[in-house]
C-alpha cells in the first residue's frame, strides 16, 4: 500500500522550534526529521514535555506568539509550509491536513451546535451550499458510528459524552477528506473501553479513506496497534525511529528500552516481568547536558564519549529499512541490563476492612418545574449499590472500572467525606460508614489516609515540603514537640526515598514524581493501617510510575499497610494487587484474587476491560473486545444486570429483568452474572502467551 518511491506527503526536515520567554529560550523541538508517506501511519511517542504537541502544531503552522521556528523546514506535498502566505496556509488547514485533539470537550465550541461546527468545514473548503454541507455532516457522523446523527447535529458539545465528542472532532477532521490527519493523544482523556472504540474507528478510517496519520501518544501499546512506523522523542529530539515491527521487537536506544521496561503489563503476572523504573527525570529545556540528553539517566553512559558532542542519528544495519538510533553505544545497549527479580508481595494478615451491603444514594434535583414544589424531592442517583468485600492487613485490593462506576464514591465514604445510605463499612472493628471525617477519633484518622491523583493540587504551593509533612505529623498527634516533629519528617522523607534537603523545598521545585512521594510521605505520617490511593499514578509519566509503585509495595512489605488502589490501569493492578474488585454502575461485577480475575472464568465486563487495553508486547496474543456505547446514566440505570445494555454475551430477557446471581467460582472469587460458570470458564482467554 505504501510505496517508498512516492515523494513523501509530509517531510519534516531538521525542524527546531523554540519558545522565547523573558527568562530565556526554551528549545522544545530540536532538529527533528521525519517523513510520512501517503496512506502511512507514523507514531510519535515519548513522555510529557518531550515536544510532541509542539511538533504537531509546528506542522500546522500554528505556533503561539512566543514560539519561533529556529531551523529546518516542514514540507507538505513538496510545498514549504514556512514559505506559504496566511491565505495559502488557511486553505491547507482543515482541508488537506486536519487535526484531532487530546481534550475533545474543550476542542469544541461550547456555544455552537455540533451541526453548525461541522457544516462550516465543507462550506468553507468545499464551497458547497448549506443543505449540501448538512447532508455531508450527517453522513460523516454516521460514518464515525454515532447513533442518531440528526440528534447529534442539534446538540451542544456539553450534551455529549467524551467518546461522542471525540467522534464528532474526528468527523469534523474528515469532512474535507484530508490526506493527512494529525492525532494528538486522541484517546488519553477517555476510558480504556471508549479508547478501544476510537482506535478501531481510526483503523477503519485508514482503510476506507487511505488517510495518512501522524499519531501522537505516550502509550506504546496504542502506537503498536495503529502505526506502521514510530519515532521516539526524548527532550525535543528524535532518539530512535523505524518500523513498528523492528522497534518493538528490538528497541535499540536505552531510552526506548527503558520505556518498554518500565511499563506494567496486564499480560504478565508479578514475577514474570517486573517493571524497571528509569532513574531520574527528563531535564528541563535549559539544563540539558552536552552530548546525549539521556546520559544522566542512562546505564550505559561512558564519560568522555556520550557527553563530548551532539550524538548523531545512526542507521542500524540489518534491521530493515530506516531504523535509526541516536546512541553511540546502541550495540551494547542490550547487554548487562538489570534482570530484576520482583520482591514477593506482602503476606496479608487478619481482616481490617469489611464492607457489607454498602449503598450510597445522591438526591439529584432536576430543573423541571416540579422541583420547585417543596418536598417533591429529586431523583435518586445510586452511586454505590450493595457493595460487599473485605481487605486484610498488608493486602492490596484494587478497585477497577470505568469513569462513573462509583469507585471514587466508595473512597469518599470510606474516608468520611460522604455518608453511606445503607449497609456497613467496618474498619478496624468500628462502623465508619456514617461517621464524618471531623467526627472520627484521632486514632481512626491516623489509621486511614489517602493519596490523591493530582499531586499538584494536593500540596500547598506556599508551604515547604517539610512544613506540609510536619503539619500532618502534628495534626495527627504523632509528635508534639518541634524536635520530635522534625525527626519524624526526616524519617518520612527517608521512607519515600527523598533526600532530607528536600524538606526545605517548595512544591514547585519538585517534579511530578517527587511531589507524589511527598504526598505519600504525608499519608504515612501517622503510620496508617490503610491507605487509599485514588488514581495515584495516572497523572505521572510511565517512567516515574514504576518507581512509585515499587515504593508503595516496599512500604507495604515493611509496615504491613493495607492499600486500596482505585485505578483504571489494569497493568498496575496485575503487578501490585492481591485482589481485585471490578465495579460497574455502582455494583460489583466480579471480585477475586488477581490471578483469578485475569483469567477465565471472567465476568463479561472484566473480559471487555481486559480486551480494551492496548498491549505493546509483541509476544502476546491479545483478543480485542470493543464495547458499544457508553456507560448508561446512573440516574436511570438499566434494570436487571446493569451491564446488559453493552454486554457482548447477553443471554436474553433474563439479563434485562433479573438481578444476576452471585456465582462462586472459587474461594473469594465471585462473579455476578446470569451465564453459568462452566460457560464463562470455557471462554477463550483475552490474553495468551504471556512472556
Amino acid at each position: 500500500m505504501v510505496d517508498a518511491k512516492d515523494p513523501p506527503l509530509l517531510e519534516i526536515d531538521g525542524l527546531s522550534l523554540t519558545y522565547v520567554t523573558r527568562a530565556g529560550e526554551n528549545p522544545a523541538v530540536r532538529g527533528v526529521s521525519l517523513t510520512v508517506r501517503a496512506g502511512e501511519a507514523v507514531g510519535l511517542a515519548g513522555e510529557s514535555g518531550c515536544g510532541k504537541t509542539t511538533l504537531a502544531l509546528g506542522v500546522m503552522g500554528y505556533l503561539g506568539r512566543d514560539c519561533r521556528r529556529t531551523g529546518g523546514a516542514v514540507r507538505f506535498q513538496g510545498r514549504d509550509m514556512g514559505a506559504l502566505g496566511a491565505e495559502e496556509l488557511r486553505r491547507i488547514r482543515g482541508s488537506e491536513i486536519a487535526m484531532v485533539y487530546q481534550e475533545p470537550s474543550s476542542a469544541l465550541n461550547p456555544s455552537l451546535t455540533v451541526g453548525a461546527q461541522l457544516m462550516e468545514v465543507p462550506m468553507i473548503h468545499g464551497r458547497v451550499t448549506g443543505p449540501e454541507a448538512r447532508e455531508r455532516a450527517v453522513r460523516m457522523l454516521a460514518d464515525v458510528h454515532l447513533a442518531d446523527p440528526e440528534r447529534i447535529m442539534a446538540a451542544y458539545p456539553h450534551q455529549l459524552s467524551g467518546g461522542q465528542q471525540q467522534r464528532v472532532v474526528i468527523s469534523m477532521a474528515l469532512l474535507s477528506n484530508p490526506s493527512l490527519l494529525l492525532l494528538d493523544e486522541p484517546t488519553t482523556a477517555l476510558d480504556a473501553t471508549i479508547e478501544a472504540g476510537i482506535v478501531e474507528l481510526i483503523a477503519e478510517i485508514r482503510r476506507t479513506y487511505g488517510t495518512a496519520l501522524l499519531f501522537i501518544s505516550h502509550n506504546l501499546g496504542l502506537i503498536r496497534q495503529v502505526c506502521d512506523r514510530v519515532v521516539i522523542m526524548y527532550a525535543g529530539q528524535a532518539v530512535e525511529d523505524g518500523g513498528v515491527a523492528q522497534v518493538f521487537a528490538a528497541p535499540r536506544h536505552p531510552y526506548t528500552r527503558g520505556l518498554f521496561g518500565c511499563m506494567t503489563l496486564p499480560t504478565a503476572g508479578r514475577a514474570a516481568r517486573p517493571p524497571i523504573p528509569i532513574p531520574g527525570q527528563p531535564p528541563p529545556p535549559r539544563q540539558r547536558p552536552r552530548g546525549c540528553t539521556f546520559a544522566p539517566r542512562c546505564g550505559h553512559f561512558v564519560d568522555g564519549l556520550c557527553n563530548r558532542a551532539e550524538v548523531p542519528m545512526e542507521k542500524v544495519p540489518d534491521a530493515g529499512p530506516g531504523h535509526h538510533v541516536r546512541c553511540l553505544r546502541w550495540r551494547d545497549a542490550g547487554a548487562g541490563e538489570r534482570a530484576r527479580q520482583a520482591a514477593p508481595l506482602a503476606t496479608p494478615g487478619e481482616e481490617i476492612l469489611r464492607v457489607e451491603g454498602m449503598g450510597k444514594d445522591y438526591v439529584v434535583h432536576d430543573r423541571a418545574l416540579g422541583a420547585l414544589v417543596p418536598g417533591a424531592g429529586g431523583r435518586r442517583l445510586r452511586a454505590n449499590d450493595g457493595l460487599t468485600f473485605s481487605a486484610r492487613r498488608g493486602e492490596t485490593v484494587a478497585i477497577v472500572g470505568e469513569t462513573g462506576c462509583g469507585k471514587s464514591t466508595f473512597a469518599k465514604v470510606l474516608m468520611g467525606l460522604e455518608a453511606a445510605t445503607s449497609g456497613r463499612v467496618r474498619f478496624d472493628g468500628a462502623d465508619v460508614g456514617r461517621v464524618a471525617v471531623d467526627k472520627r477519633t484521632r486514632r481512626q484518622l491516623r489509621a486511614l489516609q489517602m493519596v490523591f491523583q493530582d499531586p499538584d493540587g494536593t500540596l500547598n504551593p506556599s508551604l515547604s515540603v517539610g512544613a506540609q509533612i510536619g503539619r500532618a505529623v502534628k495534626t495527627l498527634g504523632v509528635e508534639t514537640d518541634k524536635a520530635g516533629i522534625r525527626r519524624r519528617v526526616l524519617r518520612l522523607l527517608d521512607l519515600v526515598k527523598l533526600p532530607s534537603e528536600m524538606a526545605a523545598f517548595k512544591p514547585r521545585q519538585l517534579s511530578g514524581g517527587e511531589k507524589q512521594r511527598v504526598a505519600i510521605a504525608r499519608a504515612f505520617a501517622g503510620n496508617p493501617a490503610m491507605v487509599v490511593a485514588d488514581e495515584a499514578l495516572s497523572a505521572l509519566d510511565v517512567s516515574v510510575q514504576a518507581a512509585i509503585l515499587e515504593l508503595l509495595t516496599d512500604i507495604q512489605r515493611t509496615r504491613g499497610t493495607t492499600l486500596l488502589f482505585v485505578t483504571h490501569d489494569l497493568g498496575v493492578v496485575r503487578y501490585i494487587a492481591h485482589r481485585v474488585v471490578v465495579m460497574y454502575l455502582g455494583r460489583i461485577m466480579e471480585q477475586g484474587s488477581t490471578d483469578e480475575v485475569f483469567a477465565p472464568p471472567y465476568h463479561p465486563y472484566t473480559e471487555a476491560l481486559l480486551g480494551a487495553v492496548p498491549i505493546a508486547d509483541k509476544g502476546v496474543v491479545h483478543r480485542r473486545v470493543v464495547l458499544k456505547g457508553a456507560v448508561p446514566s446512573a440516574l436511570d440505570p438499566p434494570s436487571g444486570c446493569p451491564f446488559h445494555t453493552r454486554c457482548p454475551r447477553k443471554l436474553g430477557a433474563v439479563c434485562e429483568t433479573e438481578t444476576p446471581p452471585e456465582r462462586i467460582a472459587g474461594a473469594g472469587h465471585v462473579i455476578a452474572c446470569h451465564i453459568p460458570l462452566e460457560d464463562l470458564a470455557a471462554v477463550e482467554p483475552v490474553i495468551k502467551g504471556a512472556s
Binding site: 500554528y62 496566511a86 465550541n109 468545514v121 418545574l369
Partner: protein, 310 residues
Amino acid sequence: MAVFVLRRLGTMAITMFAVSVLVFLLLEISPGSVATKVLGPYSTDEQRTLWLEAHGYFQPLWVRYGNWLWNFVNGDFGDSLRFKVPVSEILWPRLANTAILGLVTFAVMIPVSLVLGVAAGMREGSRLDRAISVTSIVTTSVPEFASAVFLSAVFVFWLKWLPGTSGMAEGFSFKELILPVLVLVIYDMGYVARMTRASMADVMTTPYIRTAVLKGLPYGRVIVRHALRNALIAPFTVIMLQINWLLSGVIVVEFFFAYKGFGALLLEASLNQDIFVIEACAMVAVFVAVATQTIADVGYAFLNPKIRFG
C-alpha cells in the same frame, strides 16, 4: 430554564420586599420627626399630633406598612414636601430625562467599547491592544467632574460650540445632551472596553479557537462566529450593571450640567429632607438595581448553552 427564570424572579421579589421594609422603617420609624419634617420646625405639638392622626400614624406599625406598600405599588408615593405636589408628578418626568440620557449614553458607549475591547483582545499584546488598553485606563481614571470641567472649557468657553448647561428650558434640545453624554461615555467606556478585552483575550487562547483556526476558517469568521459569542458572555453582566450606575451614579454629571434628571432629584430631595421623594427614589433605584441584576443573570444563562440546556 423556566425554573431558573422563576427562581430569579422570586429572589427579586423577596429582595424588593426586604428593601421596602428597610426603607419604610428607616424613614418612618419615628412619627414625631416625620411630622416635624412635613410641618416644619415652627409647628406646635398639637398641629403635629393632628397631622399624625389624620395620616394614620397612630395605627400599629404593620398596618401602616401595609397601607404604605399598597399606596406605593398603586403609584401613590405621597406628596413632595418641597414642591407641594404628588411625588409621582416630579418623579416620572425626571426618570424619563435620566432614561433619555442613559439611553443615548448606552447607544454611543456600548458599540464603541465592545469594538475597542474585541479589537484589543483579538490579538493580545499587539500594538493596537496596547494602545487601546492604555487609552482606556487613562479615560477611566479621570473622574467625571474633571472631564466635565475640561470638556466645558474646550467646547463651551473656547470653541463656543455647545451650551454649558443642559436645563432644557425651551424643551428638549439634542445639543444640550451632547456634553453630559460625552462625559459619561468617556468615563465608562474604558471600563467596559477593558472587561471585553480581558474576556476576548481569554477566549482567543481556548482550544476551541485553535480548532476553528486549524479547520482553515478565515480569521474574520473565527472572530465573529467562534470567539465573539463566547467572549461577550462575561461583559454582558458588566454592561447590565452600568444601567444601574447610569441611574443613580450620575449625580455629579446631572448636577454639573443642571440636567433635570433622577440623580439631581435624589440630591435635592436629600438636601431638603423631602422624605417621600427620598422613599420613592430609593425604591426606584433599588428596583432598577435588582431588575438589571436579574436580567443579567437570566441573560447570562441564556447566552450560555451549558446553563440553558443543562
